[in-house]
Symmetry: C2
Subunit: 288 residues, 2 copies
């Protein structure tokens, strides 16, 4: 599979998740509009991972799409709240005004709240079968006080800390902030079908860390117009990153190593996992 074929596969996921989001969030009130705006236009890497892992485990695509939209709802809610003036105070996201810039802060708070609720509503549908509770429990653990939100807390604490974080601390922070939910996404297919998720979890752990190192590299080397959000944020804030701790070249080779590890973890799936392997290579080569 070439990168173009992977790009097609990601575009398929974007089209499916976007179409489903527009259906679930149909209506002309401002809340629904803000929720759609927060979701549509994202890379939808997490939704792609759900759909690809579901395909590996022969999960019905309509059922998998619920889980794919659910994780994009969680991701979108976290970005909407993270961009708020009292948090990161960002004006730009995906090259567009952030939700609070476009709809107001009050609506941004509520749209984020309702996106989180929607994620759990989507996963509680009877069509997901008996494994739905495992999916919900995993998502709640990965998104909440011991997962993503605690990662954001660590991130906020790092900004005012007297000492820059160590590599171990950054790795823990990033695992909680983004790694947990990438892992949820990549293992969702196995969990939905009740299969063993060990291989997908190993894949996801390496992928998540590679993703975050690549993000730090983009923050240094990226072109704001392509990245679609402010770059050089971490350097400007004097924050420790994988790049500041490892140096640019070591960070790049570490990301490449992790992408290889991610691919190796999928050996048991043979050729069927090519799209997921391509995703790992894409993550470290992306320019946005």
């Amino acid at each position: 599979m070439t990168t173009t074929q992977f790009a097609n596969s990601l575009a398929d996921a974007q089209r499916l998740v976007t179409g489903y989001a527009n259906k679930v969030l149909a209506g002309d009130d401002r809340l629904l509009e803000a929720m759609r705006y927060a979701i549509v236009g994202g890379k939808m890497l997490r939704g792609f991972l759900v759909l690809a892992s579901a395909r590996l485990h022969d999960v019905d695509q309509g059922v998998a799409l619920r889980a794919a939209l659910a994780i994009e709802c969680i991701h979108a809610y976290s970005l909407v709240h993270d961009d708020l003036p009292c948090m990161d105070d960002d004006d730009l996201r995906r090259g567009q005004p952030t939700v609070h810039r476009k709809f107001g802060e009050d609506l941004a708070v509520l749209a984020g709240d309702a996106l989180q609720t929607l994620a759990f509503e989507l996963l509680s549908d009877p069509t997901l079968g008996p494994n739905a509770l495992s999916l919900i429990r995993g998502l709640a653990q990965d998104a909440g006080k011991d997962g993503m939100v605690s990662g954001q807390m660590l991130d906020m604490a790092a900004e005012t800390a007297s000492e820059p974080l160590t590599l171990d601390q950054i790795t823990k922070l990033q695992n909680r902030k983004t790694g947990c939910l990438i892992s949820w996404s990549a293992t969702a297919g196995a969990v939905m079908s009740g299969a063993d998720s060990t291989a997908l979890r190993q894949y996801a752990d390496a992928l998540g860390l590679a993703f975050q190192i690549a993000d730090d590299i983009l923050d240094v080397e990226g072109d704001e117009a392509k990245v679609g959000k402010r770059v050089q944020k971490d350097a400007d804030a004097g924050k420790a990153t994988f790049v500041s701790l490892l140096g640019l070249e070591t960070a790049k080779s570490r990301a490449a190593e992790l992408a290889d590890q991610a691919c190796d973890a999928l050996a048991i799936y043979g050729d069927r996992a090519e799209t997921l392997k391509e995703a790992a290579r894409f993550v470290i080569a992306r320019d946005s």
Copy 2:
């Protein structure tokens, strides 16, 4: 059962839910501290309703306590976000500084977010058995874009509307903003045990509306020191309320009628439902 006995029963629920919250949220980081602060000290009427309806249906108290804390997490998260400067901008809640006044706005956003996640984590525990998915689905529907959050949207829209709301519109707004989650709480016992929840739903619908009318009466007649939050808010904002639309005396008699209706709906439970009946009488007689 006298009002004192009901007060004892509510105090029991407060003690149980508080103890469990302190256990689930144990730890000394600021996020956990803010989450505990947001929950502890509330009336816990919703948690009480869950525990009382669970007792009616012989649901194990340890299992019911998860659902009781879950609904208090949802209620607390909604108050924390509602109090934010970009929303109602309130400094006082339950007689204490609001979460953002005490912990900062960023932490208030995150603590609210993590409280919502925790609600779904609590309900996805295997001990809740096969009916957990119904509970989760109901909570997500009642709390999200078609429930509580949409009620808050209607409330915000009412503040800038050129015409005051009609009685039908206020009833719809209040049903979504508070009624849905009161209904979820009062029916949780039946849902957890897989029993018919019709009677409890009728009880809850009347109770929820009575509760809201009583709230509007408190906003006019209440003593800020006892109520624990700013009063006269609606009148100051020129907002339509049950009191402004019905007049104070009619509002009081309507609340009393609804409390009677709530009690009548519980006839099938006989004497076992005395505590819930007392709750309906308490709701319209409370001073905070």
